[in-house]
Symmetry: C2
Subunit: 216 residues, 2 copies
């Protein structure tokens, strides 16, 4: 995955036609597209091949099963041309290692999610899951922009691993703050996909990213 | 979901034709079929409609995302005729409540998984996740047969909620012991699907279930 714009656009729509329209209109403004299960369940895994024509595709499948099942999910995902996949760390080391073994591209491990419910079970274990991501050789972690202090602590722990940060925009996280605390990429969905003008909405995020870069 | 045989067959195959063959041959021997993402990614969510012709279908999607995404996954799953869905409790109450709100059938919450890696992050929280399942009004929980003592403790905590127990057979759990500790249903996959004679393999499990019932 290149690192030019530092923006990953989450194609959080259910319709292939709309996903392709947005991908085509914003391809030059982002480093990758993220797709999740609602779109794939609606349109089939072939949508990953289709979107791959416009840029790198990161499959946000939050893979969280036993090792044998994880392996099959990850294999199929990369067979359809994905560049990366997002998996959960909480099912433990063997489940995570199965993902790494099956991957033909980058594996990103969820540590801190961006929603309120994450505080109960996930956040108290975020640092340990980040450490596990380092140990198994993941490409990076997912850490929500809604909790900049957690993001900062994770940055300290994971060395050269990448941080992809969702939760900007509709969920309330600040792009500037997330980048300042160590995010490598921002993942932005609804602010762009639900806008009447996705390229313009992307440009607004990009100008905030450039502003944050200038401050560093 | 009826409770006659107490057997749920996990159709852990990648091919629709094979899934249908097994479903057709074993429909009278189980209370439901479980499908997971490898089959659905390979064949599309329409496989749930297809298998629904042979019995109740439980979608083991281990749903583990933010509330907005969980809702979309659960909606689509029931739109294809699923009878139930398996979701993770780990992402917290709001994510779980989104599943319950969107469901048009039973929601089962993963508490104790059956693989070794579950010991790190999941098992220490299993009781709390079971409690959460009770509070949000889930139909039941998933608790692996590989750890009968944990299963027993969960049974004590969840009142009338159902326990579905995977991990029997290839993963090493004992059907008799799982039922004795409080499992309502056994989920059996590879011992049946990878057998040369799935109905016969199912019959062998059923005779163990009947033996366990006789002992109680």
């Amino acid at each position: 995955m290149r690192k030019e714009t530092r923006l990953i656009i989450a194609l959080d729509v259910l319709d292939a036609k709309r996903a392709v329209e947005i991908a085509e209109a914003t391809a030059s403004r982002c480093d990758a597209f993220k797709v999740n299960y609602p779109l794939v369940l609606s349109e089939g895994l072939g949508i990953v091949d289709t979107l791959g024509r416009f840029g790198d595709v990161l499959c946000d499948f939050k893979v969280a099963d036993i090792p044998a099942t994880n392996r099959l999910i990850v294999e199929q995902t990369f067979d359809h041309g994905a560049s990366g996949i997002i998996v959960h760390g909480f099912p433990g080391r063997d489940s995570l290692e199965a993902c790494l073994e099956a991957a033909q591209g980058d594996v990103f491990v969820v540590t801190a999610m961006s929603h309120p419910g994450a505080e109960r079970f996930l956040l108290p274990q975020a640092q340990q899951m980040a450490q596990l991501a380092v140990e198994v050789g993941a490409a990076g972690i997912i850490a929500g922009a809604t909790r900049p202090a957690v993001l900062h602590e994770l940055r300290e722990r994971i060395g050269s691993l990448l941080i992809l940060s969702p939760g900007v925009g509709v969920q309330g996280g600040s792009p500037t703050e997330a980048l300042r605390q160590g995010a490598d990429y921002l993942i932005v969905g609804r602010s762009i996909t639900q806008s009447g003008n996705p390229p313009k909405a992307a440009d607004e995020i990009l100008s905030q990213i450039q502003g944050a870069d200038a401050m560093v």
